[in-house]
Subunit: 362 residues, 2 copies
Amino acid sequence: MYHFCKNIEAISAYKPGKPVKEVERELGIKNSIKLASNENAWGFSPKSKAAMEEAIRNANIYPDGASFYLRRKISEFHNIPIDNIVVGNGSNEVLAVILRTILREGTNVVSSQHAFPVYKIMTQSCCAKFTAVPAQNYRFDVYSMMKACDENTAIIMIDNPNNPTGTYLPYNQMMDILNFAEKNKILFIADEAYIEYVRAADYKTMMNVFDKYENLVITRTFSKAYGLCGLRLGYGIGNKEIIGLAHKVRDPFNVNIIAQYAGEAALEDQDFVKRVVKNTHDGIDYLYSELKKIGLNYIETQGNFILVEVPGSGKEFFDKLLRYGIIVRPVGEDLHKHIRLTVGTMEQNKKAIDAIKEVIKG
Amino acid sequence: MYHFCKNIEAISAYKPGKPVKEVERELGIKNSIKLASNENAWGFSPKSKAAMEEAIRNANIYPDGASFYLRRKISEFHNIPIDNIVVGNGSNEVLAVILRTILREGTNVVSSQHAFPVYKIMTQSCCAKFTAVPAQNYRFDVYSMMKACDENTAIIMIDNPNNPTGTYLPYNQMMDILNFAEKNKILFIADEAYIEYVRAADYKTMMNVFDKYENLVITRTFSKAYGLCGLRLGYGIGNKEIIGLAHKVRDPFNVNIIAQYAGEAALEDQDFVKRVVKNTHDGIDYLYSELKKIGLNYIETQGNFILVEVPGSGKEFFDKLLRYGIIVRPVGEDLHKHIRLTVGTMEQNKKAIDAIKEVIKG
């Protein structure tokens, strides 16, 4: 006899931003600007484009089930052994697969208020409990997170930098909680999706210590600085035992062929990534300066987006911006006074600022 | 404290066929013919190709998280409501997601000997038990499967037609076991990946009764007759409650944008599918006739592949065929005397038959 897991029935599914053409159709507008999903306004490398075109010709062939060539390329890029790498249908799948190797009813995951909302859904999908420890001034509080762990805590999950706040944890705090997790045999997941955009001097990647800790998994994505979110491609790095189990639990052909080809090519064009990051930083600096002039509070960001506190509710402000053809993300929940604004091209940023000014004028 | 699930540690990961270029590199051969993975030798529709080319341009944008347009197209194609449809990263992901909504430690899945081997891995990934009921003359024995169910049986899984045997269950037997499952509150999954190739007169799709049974889920794929296995695209159909839970459990952006575009276009070109099926049937008839002449036993197939009994072991025969540049699948396990031969173009089929003759000559 089958029963659905109560925990699963209780899940509120993640609500992605609407596709632009849906929004335009509903509102009867055109040429709107979507700054809602932290997408890359500069697209992707021409090398990735050529690789995608080649891959299309082979769409009737199964992708390499082990993503061997891409994993070899990642292995060279980070200078780590291939057996420590698993590739997924977005880093989202890598995270979900790692959770599934460990979580079950009765276990729990400790993370933070304001963490990437999908973490909670993933945890509930495994019939486990998700604990969101209160943040301090929008930042994760690693010491309170340690206190929140109990004997059933199987995983601590941190996205660093964090989406949607743009905040980050300095290296020393990450090491403190990683050491705590090691001592208590808790798996520690560091999701570094936005790492390419980081400017904070006291931030460091956990890749520095990946081979020193058996309980550490790091995830990366091609969705942000590489501009390939449409293809779904990310990877996880950790010790061979955990990665080996992830390979068992993942679907046998989990990564599509277009993504595998494009990912290999993307890693070869680091100049493209540098340009994207430079443009993003220029955009952030422009937006900071304009938001200050307007008098709106924002949180300093290490990502490609800015969380801005707006008059009224974020949802109301979002609705008003829509009428000017600017689509942002009303974050909701604990951040209902905020909108999240993705950094676009300078032209898009200027149009967004103009629209924000108009909305505030009322 | 984390523990890995013992059941997961015990999984033997699915071994996909090697990519052609790997095999060629290892053997130092060129222009080999891969008839090992039930891929579509005629590629995909030109409409799908055009759609993929368009999709590439949007690879820096997230795919529609709900696969709305593709689900609407599937809904029109089958004339069923959109809320009864979930799309996945291959039907493989749909199956895995459905299993995850229900299975946990202590539950079990009843299927058959010779069933698609990934079913067992999926079940073990959920820490549940997989029962493979002995087949009769390579065919699933639904009445023994019913007897094998107990109070902890949550799911009965049947691929019909079955890969790798090519056998099928007639409609009356499918209805008998579906009714049994309904009575015992067991979820019934009918995987119809190969349905387009079926010629048996007493076969019918379970789509006929999808809205009559609350415990029925049907899966379909774009990997076979539509020729898009590289993109990873499949879908599941069932009652709104189960499908709604699947939407909660799946990753929020589970289907890549290239697959979504190509799938919509593929459904619009049924003439392409008809040609593929006609060519496949011609190939099957040719192979039957040649295998008879050679004196090799085979199992009549409803798929795009034939299971052939070979002298010695399947693995030995596979190795010998490799030297002639013909790559087939040695099935292994209970079918260690067999090779599975995918139907290719007539030229490929002829080369395969020539190579088989040479190997038998010794």
